[in-house]
């Protein structure tokens, strides 16, 4: 019985492993030229498009936001956030290839849904 319990736990953990593919080291062969948004201030649940322009070979793009949701993928994504994310939120873009990664951030202010 104990062996079954342990095995179940191990199986749960193994199946839960899903990591980012971004290499750990910084690359000297990639350069981010710009990272910009269509709107820097949005109302809760509205969206803004964020675009990164970068120089390098075979580039891939990883995105994360400290608060809010990211839709889409690649060099242009859409960002939206609910009322729970009112404030100044940071979106991080990592551009990477086999040589490593470089990253930049952009800040988007989210206003309360009922604010004018």
């Amino acid at each position: 019985m104990k062996q079954i319990l342990f095995l179940s736990l191990v199986v749960f953990m193994l199946f839960s492993c899903k990591k980012s593919e971004v290499p750990k080291k910084i690359s000297n062969e990639i350069e981010i030229i710009s990272l910009d948004a269509s709107f820097r201030t949005i109302k809760a649940w509205d969206t803004t498009s964020i675009t990164v322009i970068a120089k390098g070979e075979n580039l891939s793009y990883f995105w994360e936001a400290n608060h809010g949701d990211i839709k889409g993928n690649g060099s242009q994504i859409k960002y939206a956030a609910g009322n729970c994310c009112v404030g100044l939120n940071t979106i991080t873009c990592r551009v990477f290839n086999e040589t490593g990664f470089v990253e930049d951030t952009i800040q988007i202010r989210v206003k309360h849904y009922l604010d004018n």
Binding site: M1, K2, Q3, L5, F6, L7, S8, L9, V10, F12, M13, L14, F15, S16, C17, K18, K19, S20, E21, V22, A44, W45, S60, Y61, F62, W63, E64, A65, N66, H67, G68, D69, I70, K71, G72, N73, I77, K78, A80, A81, G82, N83, C84, C85, V86, G87, T90, T92, H112, Y113, L114
Partner: protein, 319 residues
């Protein structure tokens, strides 16, 4: 013995390979709160094993207690599996371990351009001690306490198509959470009716990392209910639960205004004792009153299925 060491090492390897990166977003996450009262603590040397499945759906935004039309999430929900084991260490104390796994944790959106997001993975690990505070079998009265910790061993950095999923879709809360509670049970009419009152509190430790600084609000819970033995195998329970969540905080101690609130839920449950030590329970939970802080997506209902095996005897070696 070698097999035990092997399993233990395998467990540790997986545990530490999780590499918890404490970076994420707002809102709520982690294991859902237990809604099913458990009257019977494991006796000394007895093991109780339980398997819980829960399905939950949310599809309506509320501005405090009023429905508000927000053109964003169409529906959000999860399918959650939890394996629990409780072992009676001594006459008055048992140890409980629960580990949860989200089979799916999803959001669909009203905007057709937004694809459905679906996450899965290991949730938090709950380790708790249950102990008798007062027990008077002649009066059918029992007061027990519980204290424990939830460890963020699960997935908190889930990435799909090189996009880190928002915190509300991450299977783990990413935070150490400490909880404690008390439960009073009193039986009447030769155990035909059981009345219970329970209360608990859960504190979360602040999550602090390079990109993320967040503290979930404290959760207080009070439950009052009664069970009625329909026959020797069938029990019906009805409880009312009040959950009060305080507001969360983000960086620089900014209060997250759209977090927390008060929910009153009705939870009917039916339990069937299939064999001598096997128990099947079905529980349904739906809010009957809610008042959120600001605008939040509110839970519609959840449904739980619990299979319990009681009294698995463990023989301890004596020297």
């Amino acid at each position: 013995m070698k097999m035990r060491i092997f399993y233990f090492l395998l467990f540790l390897a997986c545990f530490f390979s999780q590499e918890i990166e404490i970076k994420a977003q707002c809102c709520a996450a982690g294991n859902p709160l237990n809604i099913s009262p458990d009257f019977q603590r494991s006796n000394r040397n007895d093991l109780k094993i339980s398997l819980l499945f829960r399905n939950s759906i949310s599809d309506t935004y509320y501005n405090e207690n009023e429905v508000i039309d927000i053109n964003y999430v169409d529906n959000s929900g999860f399918n959650y599996l939890e394996l629990g084991a409780e072992y009676g260490l001594i006459d008055w104390l048992s140890l409980r371990i629960e580990t949860g796994y989200y089979l799916s944790k999803f959001e669909t959106y009203k905007n057709p351009d937004f694809e459905k997001k679906n996450a899965y993975g290991l949730a938090d690990l709950n380790i708790a001690a249950r102990f008798d505070l007062y027990k008077k079998p002649s009066r059918k009265l029992q007061i027990s306490g519980i204290a424990g910790i939830k460890l963020p061993v699960g997935v908190f950095d889930l990435v799909v198509d090189n996009i880190k999923l928002p915190v509300q879709l991450q299977p783990s809360s990413g935070s150490f959470r400490y909880h404690g509670g008390i439960q009073i049970n009193k039986a009447y009419l030769q155990n035909k009716i059981n009345v219970f009152l329970g209360s608990s509190v859960e504190f979360s430790q602040r999550i602090q990392s390079k990109n993320f600084d967040y503290k979930y609000g404290t959760v207080y819970m009070i439950a009052l209910g009664s069970g009625y033995k329909l026959n020797s195998k069938l029990n019906f329970l009805m409880q009312g639960r009040v959950e009060i969540r305080k507001k969360s905080q983000r960086e620089n101690n900014q209060i997250v205004e759209a977090s927390g609130g008060t929910i009153v839920m009705a939870v009917p449950q039916i339990s069937y004792q299939a064999f001598e030590d096997w128990n099947l329970s079905l529980a349904f939970s739906t809010p009957i009153y809610r008042k959120y802080n600001s605008i939040q997506l509110g839970n519609k209902h959840s449904f739980s299925f619990i299979l319990t095996r009681n009294n698995v005897k463990i023989q301890r070696k004596t020297t």
